[in-house]
Symmetry: C2
Subunit: 228 residues, 2 copies
């Protein structure tokens, strides 16, 4: 993942695009979300600093940022660990999502272009065709983000994104235990959602989405071994 930009004469890995803190935070975030740092992993500032060719200072700020996002837990004078969730905590996050994602969808629907809606159907179809777990997660994320892409919100979109990120690890574990048939309902729900969006029926779309999230929450609760 560590992209080495083709620097002409500078051996430094630092492309100096934006702030170093943001770059380190972004790198850590994607690493955590891709499962390279599983929950409970300790994160040492010095290691990350050396890994990114920066000092510990931007790393500390990045860790603060990730802590605010809920991806990392900081203990004063002790260290940082990748956040882990138990079933109850994951359940809570899903209940929050169940309430606010429909709202985000309502923000989005009036502003979605016809092209964007067409893209939704394509994404749903690709997932239905049967893909590997990691790609399924990726497509599922992109699908739902696409349904929200019309929303121009100050906070809501970001809040939803953070909730997704915090449960990403357990969604992966759950998906690993599924066969193709188990996803039948998911695909049906996705198509129902696309149809509701196509007809610009925000209320119906809210209902379908809330049910989708709610069902996923109940499914997760039926597999508590994931949280050991």
């Amino acid at each position: 993942m560590a992209s080495t930009p083709t620097a002409p004469d500078a051996p430094a890995v630092i492309p100096r695009d934006g702030g170093a803190s943001e770059r380190v935070a972004e790198a850590l975030r994607t690493a955590i979300l891709h499962g390279e740092y599983p929950p409970g992993t300790r994160i040492r500032q010095e290691d990350v600093a050396a890994q990114h060719g920066a000092s510990r200072l931007p790393v500390r700020e990045a860790l603060r940022l990730l802590e605010a996002e809920g991806l990392v837990r900081l203990v004063a004078n002790t260290g940082a660990w990748v956040s882990s969730l138990n079933l109850d905590e994951c359940d809570e996050l899903y209940r929050i999502r169940e309430r606010i994602e429909p709202l985000l969808l309502t923000y989005s629907i009036p502003a979605l272009s016809d092209d964007a809606i067409a893209e939704l159907g394509a994404l749903a179809a690709r997932m239905e065709a049967g893909v590997a777990v990691e790609e399924f997660l990726e497509l599922d994320h992109r699908f739902h983000l696409a349904t929200y892409s019309g929303a121009r919100t100050l906070t809501l979109g970001e809040t939803v994104e953070r909730l997704w990120n915090r449960t990403q690890h357990y969604r992966r574990l759950y998906s690993l235990g599924l066969d193709a048939d188990s996803n039948r309902i998911v695909h049906d729900e996705h198509h129902m959602l696309v149809r509701a969006i196509e007809s610009r029926d925000a209320d119906d779309a809210e209902r379908v989405l809330a049910g989708h999230i709610r069902r996923t929450r109940l499914e997760l609760a039926r597999h508590p071994h994931i949280f050991d």
Copy 2:
């Protein structure tokens, strides 16, 4: 103000309770919430550092924290300003609250002690007795927090608190334009909420609370001059 660090082992002015970053963040947060730093105010790192007898480093981390909370806006290489909201953004935050605060209430109600519920009635009565604006805001905040005090959540309580904080300034401006009569509905809603909680009827309490927040949002929209 400026503590002279020349003494090696002299008694530091700093009580050294927790991390300096948290202390600075807490101080800035309360200052912003109390209206000492109105929206749009520029925050210079050096000033804050000197003001708290610390270096700029903890100040930077505090600003990062407050940015994540939405109270401060940071622009790279430029500076930090106290966040300001327009009507649409404030409306969005209220719509989010309308969806998730009822959920938090449902988490709380089963675990509320009878003493805590009695305290609710007392707070509602004190507000009704007629108090100055700043005290009204304080009591209102304490009242609603008390209704949530039974909830043992990972994220939801903190999220709600942040949403309150971000709209605090505009709630104050709105309250300043009210006479005693205009608060009649507010008091009625508070008492309805207390009664629903007393009977441990979470569904009814959710309905009352959602209506309370929704009505407040509509009231704010009727006073757009607040956001100039």
